[in-house]
Structure formats: structure tokens, C-alpha cells
């Protein structure tokens, strides 16, 4: 077995890589593994409730949750709640990301300005933005914009710091080389420092998606009349565990969907990195 692998590796380095690459031969196994794990967890949960190891009142059951999701879908309410929460997350994410990346770039490009701004930014960053949510409700009302503001205020700083650090850490040798090729300061910024920071920016974006979701849900907990956060909080208020669990399942699914979208963006933008592009 091991000799076979060695021989194959020597002859075709790519064959060896493809064995390790989940996007080639291994993808079916991964999907199968996920499906089996999901089925096992659901079965365990359902049996635990059926055999009274756990109390339905506290943990509900997969069957009840599935039934609730079907009912919510049939009545069209699921669509409304998901729509409201999803737009809140996406808007909060996009606004925070654009402003954060933009400010990070502007700060990394300057010398004096970041020094002046530093204590102000750190002071704002130190504030728990979740605690600002009630203030945002006062400012922006109970509609979607107060949720967008909470999400954006968290995303903004994550993106700002990742962009700023990435650009500041740009390899001096690359800057020297491009300067020696005749690059102007502006070209060094646009053609070296910004692309150099892309992996950092993407890392920032990836951690931001979850934060935008949290921001939106917190906003909906505090004051809303629609949205998954509102639905969870309403269900909890009426001791409807199944409703709470159904809301959480939807949030989990949203998180998975948003992350896989970002991962796709990542593998497209970072195809020049060996670990992503194999």
C-alpha cells in the first residue's frame, strides 16, 4: 500500500495531491459523512424524547420542529421572517464591510491620520455594540435599520482592523521591487498593498458574517415585530420550545449558507495561494 502511494507520488505529484483534495475524489465521502452525522444526531434526539430520557417540554423533538417548519413555510410566515432577518444581516454586513474596508485602506495609506484617530477608534471599539442596540432603536426605529446599524457597527471594526493590519504588514521587499520597476506611491498602494491585504480582508469578512447575524438577532430581540429573532423571542415568551428550536434551526441554516457563499468568494480571490488552490 505505502509503496504504491510512493510510486504514484513519484510519477504523478498531482495524483498524490488529488487524493488529499476534498474537491476531487473525497467530496462524496465528505457529503456522506455529513449526512450520516446529521441523521445520527436527529435519531438520537428523537429517541431521547420518545424514550423519555429527555423532556419534550424542554428540548422539543426533531419531528415536532420539522412539523413546525413545514407549517411556517405553508403559511408563508417563514418566508417573511427569513426575508426580514436575511436583509438585515446582508445590509448590515455590506454597509459595515464597505465602510470598514474603506476606512482601513484610507488609514493604512496615511501616516498622521491613523495616529490621530487611534484613541477614538479604540474607544468606540471597546464599547460593547450589543449594548448600543437600544440606542440604535431610539435613533433608527423598530424597523430593519436599527438591526442593520447593530450589525454594521460590529462588522465595521472587524473589517477596519483586518484591512489596516494586512496593508501595514505588506512585505517591504515587494514594495521595494515594484518601486524599483518605476511604481509611484499611488501604484504601490493599489497594486501591492491592497492586493497584499486581500487574505486579511477575507478573514475579516468571514468572521464578520456571523457577527452581522448576531447583531441583527440582538436588534430583533430588543424591538421588532418580525424576523427570526423576534420569532424566537416570542416563542420563548410563550414557553413554545418547538418554536424556539425551529428559529434556531433556521438561523443555523442561514449561517451555513452565508459562510459557504463567502468561502466561494475566498477560493476565487485566493487562487494564488497554495493552500486554497490545490
Amino acid at each position: 500500500m505505502s509503496t504504491q502511494v510512493t510510486a504514484a507520488t513519484a510519477a504523478h505529484p498531482r495524483a498524490f495531491l488529488s487524493a488529499l483534495d476534498p474537491r476531487r475524489g473525497g467530496m462524496a465521502q465528505i457529503v456522506l459523512g455529513r449526512v450520516l452525522l446529521f441523521a445520527a444526531l436527529v435519531t438520537l434526539w428523537q429517541s431521547a424524547v420518545a424514550y423519555k430520557w429527555m423532556d419534550f417540554y424542554f428540548v422539543s423533538s426533531p419531528a415536532a420542529i420539522a412539523g413546525r417548519l413545514v407549517a411556517l413555510t405553508a403559511s408563508g410566515r417563514l418566508f417573511v421572517h427569513v426575508g426580514v432577518t436575511f436583509s438585515g444581516v446582508v445590509l448590515g454586513f455590506l454597509i459595515g464591510a464597505v465602510l470598514g474596508v474603506g476606512t482601513g485602506m484610507a488609514m493604512a495609506a496615511g501616516r498622521l491620520v491613523p495616529e490621530i484617530l487611534d484613541p477614538f477608534i479604540m474607544a468606540l471599539y471597546g464599547l460593547p455594540r450589543v449594548a448600543l442596540a437600544p440606542l440604535f432603536v431610539v435613533w433608527f426605529g423598530i424597523g430593519i435599520w436599527s438591526k442593520v446599524a447593530v450589525g454594521a457597527s460590529i462588522v465595521f471594526f472587524l473589517c477596519l482592523f483586518s484591512t489596516y493590519s494586512g496593508m501595514r504588514l505588506t512585505d517591504v521587499n515587494l514594495l521595494q521591487a515594484v518601486k524599483a520597476l518605476g511604481g509611484t506611491q499611488r501604484q504601490l498602494l493599489l497594486k501591492v498593498r491592497v492586493p497584499y491585504a486581500v487574505p486579511w480582508i477575507i478573514a475579516g469578512l468571514k468572521s464578520s458574517v456571523g457577527m452581522a447575524l448576531i447583531g441583527t438577532i440582538v436588534g430583533e430581540f430588543i424591538a421588532a415585530s418580525r424576523g427570526i429573532g423576534w420569532y424566537i423571542s416570542y416563542a420563548a415568551g410563550s414557553y413554545d420550545t418547538t418554536g424556539v428550536m425551529a428559529g434556531l434551526v433556521v438561523l443555523g441554516a442561514m449561517s451555513v449558507a452565508l459562510n459557504s457563499a463567502l468561502r466561494r468568494l475566498e477560493s476565487r480571490l485566493l487562487n494564488w495561494k497554495p493552500d486554497v488552490a490545490l
Binding site: 521595494q176 521591487a177 515594484v178 524599483a180 520597476l181 509611484t184 494564488w272 495561494k273 488552490a277
Partner: protein, 258 residues
């Protein structure tokens, strides 16, 4: 072509100010290949940075075609020891970078870049990213990138220093061959005396602390040259010995004296 006159450069350390370059004067003629050799810390890279306009002398001046070098000049092309290809660009986009920075249009660039890729033997690798290249291929891409801007003088700072022995010889041959076609003036920095000898018309030796020029050796080998053949030339050992003698007259290794 290139005239370095009484250049001094000082560095400040906690122990005080010392001269990295002490009264360096050197002339390089058009089409000449001149190497500067010396132990690490003799200031040879600092000298090259000053010629490139990336650094400034504290005293003295550098004239390139009669013009004082104050900033990065269009007439110079610089290659570094470590790979400085932009990792997010393909080989093709890296080779075209200098032209792109100068505002040459994409369509005009394409043809020039393609020709250069052929010249350096990378025509199959235009769409590949730098991480997929071997050390020698990355070097060839860098040489193509600097040739693309058609500099009058090439400044090369230990370009083959990080390569293994075999790749190094292949690259030396490749460079010799390219220069037959491109006819560039070259100022080459290395600590590899054999390399200096094989490639150069003239070898300048330097000593450290303070960084001073010690001597000058005209290399008697004819062109075109071959890196392997040159090593076997009967004149090779005596020139090599003379250069060694310049750098370490006591016979003690430089590291031991430091």
C-alpha cells in the same frame, strides 16, 4: 555609462557612527559586466541601492549617463536576491508589471510579454502563479520582468544567492546567453567569487568595516562563455586565487575575523 564618485554612506548604531561605504569610486562602461564581491556587511548591497536610487549617499554622487541619480531611474532595472514576484499575479502579469506601471496598454504589453516568456523559456508557464514555480523558474520570470522595461543598466543583487548549486550554474548560463541577445550593462553583486569570475568582464573586490574598494580584476575569459567550461579554464584558478587574496589577505576566513 555609470560613474560612482567618492560615495560615502554612514550608519548609526548604538556603538556610534560607522562608514558602510567609505569613499567608493567606480566606473562602468557601456555593455560591460562588472561584479562587486566582498564579505557580508561590506556595503555592496547598499552601494547597489544607491545606484538604483532606492537609497541616497551621504557624500559623493552617482552619475548615470551624465545625470545625477536622485530617485529610481527609468534607465535602471533591479533584481533582488529573494523572489519579489507578486504572488497574486500570474507569471504573465508579473512580467508585464513594469510596462503596466509605465502606462503601456494591455494589447501592446501582451506581445512584448509573450516574446520575453519565450526568451526565458517560460512560454508554458504564463498562466501559472509564482508559488507553482521552482526557484530557477521564478528567477527567470524576474529577469524577464526587468528586461521588459528595457533598462540601460541591470543592477543585480545576489540574484542567484538562494539557489542550489546546480540551478545556480544553469541560471548563470541562462544569464550569459540572454546577455548575448540583450547587450545590457550589468552591475552585479555577489559573495560567490566563482560566479563573479564566470559572468564578469571586471570584478571589484570590497572589504568590510569600513566598506572600501580593495582591488580590481580584469577577467581574461573570452565571450561567449559557458558557465561549466569557464570553471575548467586553465586561467580560472589563478584569477580566483588573486581575488581571494584581495578579500582575505591573511588567509583566515572572514567569519573568524569578525
Amino acid at each position: 555609462m555609470l560613474e560612482i564618485t567618492n560615495v560615502r554612506k554612514y550608519f548609526s548604531t548604538p556603538q556610534g557612527r560607522f562608514a558602510a561605504l567609505d569613499d567608493i569610486s567606480l566606473k562602468v562602461r557601456e555593455g560591460e559586466f562588472v561584479s562587486v564581491v566582498g564579505p557580508s556587511g561590506c556595503g555592496k548591497s547598499t552601494l547597489l541601492n544607491i545606484v538604483a536610487g532606492l537609497d541616497r549617499p551621504d557624500e559623493g554622487q552617482v552619475l548615470l549617463r551624465g545625470q545625477v541619480v536622485r530617485d529610481v531611474s527609468r534607465a535602471t532595472g533591479y533584481t533582488f536576491q529573494q523572489s519579489t514576484l507578486l504572488p497574486w499575479r500570474t507569471v504573465r502579469a508579473n512580467v508585464g508589471l513594469g510596462l503596466e506601471l509605465r502606462g503601456v496598454s494591455a494589447s501592446e504589453r501582451a506581445g512584448m510579454v509573450e516574446r520575453l516568456l519565450v526568451q526565458v523559456g517560460l512560454e508554458q508557464f504564463g498562466d501559472v502563479h509564482p508559488y507553482q514555480l521552482s526557484g530557477g523558474m521564478a528567477k527567470r520570470a524576474e529577469i524577464a520582468r526587468v528586461l521588459a522595461i528595457d533598462p540601460e543598466i541591470l543592477l543585480m543583487d545576489e540574484p542567484f544567492g538562494a539557489l542550489d548549486a546546480q540551478t545556480k550554474i544553469a541560471m548563470q548560463n541562462h544569464l550569459l546567453h540572454l546577455l548575448q541577445n540583450f547587450k545590457k550593462t550589468v552591475l552585479f553583486i555577489t559573495h560567490d567569487l566563482e560566479e563573479a569570475l564566470i559572468l564578469s568582464d571586471r570584478v571589484i573586490t570590497m572589504r568590510a568595516r569600513p566598506g572600501r574598494i580593495r582591488g580590481e580584476h580584469v577577467i581574461p575569459l573570452e565571450r561567449p562563455r559557458d558557465a561549466r567550461q569557464a570553471r575548467l579554464d586553465r586561467r580560472f584558478p589563478e584569477v580566483l586565487r588573486a581575488i581571494w587574496e584581495d578579500i582575505e589577505p591573511s588567509g583566515a576566513p572572514a567569519e573568524a575575523r569578525a
